[in-house]
């Protein structure tokens, strides 16, 4: 695992469909400033900066670390840009952690962002490539058939996706940073919303958001210099597999299972449902909650939907393993940051700093991100107790 490291500061922006009040630089600076304030530190206390975001073609800024150097106080420091598809927010956190866990740096700032209002994700994801199938479908169209296959295999009731959509929006209504604020959302309202990519309805899909998320990661020695409780990094893992190969299980990808297995081994997790107090898992389309419940070993194969049905993943229903208490990707989705928000919200829980969406006495939490055709995974486990 290398040297001990912990999250000592977390900063997020308010998520919204359009943050017209700030530039891209202003957006990342807002998150970085909030993280530094949370850690009671200044830019001078930072040794290196690690940034991440989804494809450059979204905002049209090539290698944006070059332009964002000044906004992130990185002048004269090492600065690295990570890009691993939708999992990038999580991978960026892990690469930032490796800066400290390798003993190379004492304290680093990591920031991820997306400004979808200045971007055209659908266009960027649909450029035709020579000799390749041109999907022109965006992410929803890509995942819909995989979800249908999940429903077929598991015989899940058809409204499980609706239940996830309602649950995560009710969680999001507790979080003042959330893009969507829908405290009165109903099962009927989701069911009545437009069918976009069968079986994914409009309200079962994530929004397009502007936003940034930042964390400060410090080594053991410097943890005490920040006033709030740290979130100790107990494990971190990444896995990748090709988009397509013979025999690939797209519903329950092996890369996700392998990644979970490794991160659990590092953190000493043998029973995730029992041992974790909560999880922040990348669920951009409602049905991915039951699918990931199985992929991550919280439920047996074909049984994930039962946890959703029983309210086990709901904070409002007092579930034993609340998922996405912050509202999740279904409530805020600045793509490049969405993975890091999961990692950061997991850390907020074990720091006891999650305000209205706090899980009581959370000690151990999972942060999860995935990307590409559900082929890139990154995960970490954070805990309140120093290992």
């Amino acid at each position: 695992m290398g040297e001990l490291a912990a999250v000592v500061g977390i900063g997020q922006t308010k998520y919204a469909s359009r943050r017209g009040d700030v530039s891209i630089a202003g957006l990342v600076r807002e998150a970085a400033g909030n993280a530094l304030e949370d850690a009671d530190l200044g830019f001078k206390d930072i040794d290196a900066v690690v940034i991440g975001k989804a494809p450059d073609m979204f905002e049209g800024v090539v290698m944006p670390e070059i332009y964002l150097t000044d906004a992130l106080g990185a002048n004269g420091k090492p600065m690295l840009r990570v890009h691993t598809a939708g999992s990038v927010g999580g991978s960026t956190a892990l690469v930032a952690a490796s800066h400290v866990q390798s003993g190379t740096f004492r304290r680093v700032l990591t920031v991820t962002f997306e400004k979808q209002s200045e971007s055209n994700a659908m266009w960027a994801l649909s450029s035709p490539q020579p000799f390749s199938v041109h999907l022109n479908a965006g992410a929803g169209g890509y995942f819909a058939p995989i979800i249908r296959e999940y429903i077929r295999r598991s015989n899940a009731p058809s409204d499980i996706g609706i239940m996830v959509a309602v649950k995560d929006r009710l969680h999001g209504a507790r979080n003042p940073l959330s893009h969507l604020n829908l405290p009165n959302i109903s099962h009927q309202e989701v069911e009545d919303s437009m069918m976009l990519w069968d079986p994914i309805r409009f309200l079962e899909a994530c929004p397009s958001s502007d936003g940034a998320c930042a964390m400060i990661i410090a080594n053991e020695e410097l943890v005490s210099e920040s006033p709030k409780p740290p979130a100790w990094i107990l494990g971190g893992a990444m896995r990748s597999e090709p988009t397509i190969y013979a025999g690939r299980d797209e519903v329950n990808p092996r890369a996700g299972r392998d990644c979970a297995k490794e991160v659990y081994a590092q953190a000493g997790i043998s029973n995730p449902r029992r041992q974790f107090d909560c999880a922040e898992v990348y669920v951009p389309f409602s049905w991915y909650e039951p699918m990931w419940l199985e992929n991550l070993g919280f439920a047996d194969q074909g049984e994930g939907w039962r946890l959703t049905l029983d309210g086990a993943t709901s904070l409002d229903e007092g579930g034993d393993i609340p998922w996405n208490c912050s509202g999740g990707v279904l409530s805020s989705n600045p793509i490049g940051a969405s993975g890091m928000i999961r990692f950061a919200e997991a850390a907020r829980q074990v720091r006891g700093d999650a305000d209205q969406h706090q899980v009581e006495n959370a000690q151990l939490a999972l942060g999860h991100a995935y990307g590409g055709g559900a082929q890139f995974f990154s995960m970490w486990v954070v805990g309140a107790r120093k290992p």
Binding site: M1, G2, E3, S23, I24, A54, P55, D56, M57, F58, E59, G60, V61, V62, M63, E65, I66, Y67, T69, D70, A74, N75, G76, K77, P78, M79, L80, R81, V82, H83, T84, A85, V95, S98, H99, Q101, S102, G103, T104, L125, S127, Q129, P130, F131, M238, R239, S240, E241, P242, T243, Y245, R248, P253, R254, A255, D258, C259, G372, Q375, F376
Partner: protein, 353 residues
């Protein structure tokens, strides 16, 4: 940090002015095969970590690296990451992974096809998207501005720039992978017309397609594989302000900072491979690094002889590695750069095992 990290394999494709219909995966695979062969492994499953560097804007598609993963045979799934930077920074990420004990070995690669687009215009979109990018200031014009400053201040003469080119072309004669080589005198080169004043075409690195790959590992792994290696004794990088008006373009402050952090001991360097996409930038780097006349600079010809975007930085490290294992050098410096006018710089020090 006490872990001894070694480079055990390197391969680079020829720098092609146009790779034609070959796609990125087809450019990468021969280099991966070559580095596997050098250490006697069969595929990416035999290393603990893989990290690559590429740029979506050069491929004209979001997620350019995803097709790279197809070249790896990532079944069963692998530990893999990617930087949207030159692969020298992928090497940096891999080094951190080994230092933290998460891997004993790593495969690093970088690739691009610059030929299908207009590289200098594409790179203009690296600039501040509100104030600079809308002006489409291309990378050659910015470099020309930098060269003009140096000439006006009397720091260099046009003939110094031409001498850099002449040396690059001459060294590249020995380099089978080079795109441009030959015997040219300074006066020949100065007879060529100006391209973007004061730069001549020969002062600018060419547009090239290709890929390079490297394998690094712990010393014990290198001994287990029983292959010659060079020790990677230091690697570090620094970025500086994006506001071109806020920095002295005639020097490289960030390069100096890295050199100090690494204690490069320029008096004991046999060779230095510098990523200078423009001739005058090599002069800036030589000065900022305080290189001595005894140091052989860019024995490969450097990137003026062929510039594989996203791979050239990694290739500089590889060129030093090759010369160390061949016994032609015992200590060398490799440099990589990113951003307009040398905004971001990385240095690596290699020593004989």
């Amino acid at each position: 940090m006490d872990i001894d990290i070694c480079i055990v394999a390197f391969s680079q494709s020829a720098c092609l002015a146009q790779a034609g219909a070959a796609n990125e995966v087809e450019l990468i695979m021969p280099e991966l095969e070559a580095v596997y062969r050098q250490v006697g492994i069969s595929n990416a499953q035999d290393v603990d970590f893989v990290c690559s560097g590429s740029c979506d804007y050069l491929q004209g598609a979001a997620f350019a690296f995803v097709s790279g993963v197809d070249a790896l045979g990532a079944v069963p799934p692998i530990q893999e990451s990617h930087v949207e930077m030159d692969a020298a920074w992928a090497l940096y990420e891999a080094v951190l992974k080994i230092r933290m004990g998460h891997a004993e070995s790593a495969l690093v690669y970088g690739f691009s096809k610059s030929s299908p687009g207009e590289l200098p215009i594409v790179l203009s979109q690296q600039l501040d998207p509100y104030y600079l990018a809308p002006q489409w200031i291309d990378s050659i014009s910015l470099a020309a501005l930098q060269a003009r400053l140096m000439l006006d201040r009397g720091i260099i003469e046009l003939s110094d720039m031409a001498a850099v080119v002449a040396s690059s072309r001459r060294c590249a004669i020995e380099n089978k992978k080079a795109q441009l080589s030959g015997q040219f005198s300074v006066s020949d080169l100065l007879k060529e017309p100006e391209y973007v004043s004061p730069l001549r075409r020969a002062d600018c690195s060419p547009i090239s397609d290709g890929a390079s790959a490297m394998i690094i590992c712990t010393k014990s792994k290198a001994e287990e594989w029983n292959v010659p290696f060079a020790r990677l004794v230091g690697i570090d990088h620094r970025i500086e302000t994006h506001n071109l008006g806020m920095r002295d373009l005639t020097t490289s402050h960030s390069t100096r900072l890295v050199a100090e952090a690494l204690s490069i001991h320029s008096d004991s360097l046999d060779i230095a491979e510098l990523y200078a996409p423009f001739s005058h930038q090599q002069l800036i780097l030589e000065k900022s690094l305080e290189l001595r006349p005894e140091t052989d600079i860019n024995p490969s010809g450097g990137v003026l002889a062929g510039n594989l975007m996203m791979a050239s930085g990694l290739s500089r490290v590889g060129e030093v590695f090759d010369r160390i294992v061949d016994g032609k050098a015992s200590r060398g410096l490799a440099h990589a750069t990113s951003g307009p006018c040398l905004q971001h710089n990385l240095l690596a020090i290699l020593e004989r095992g």
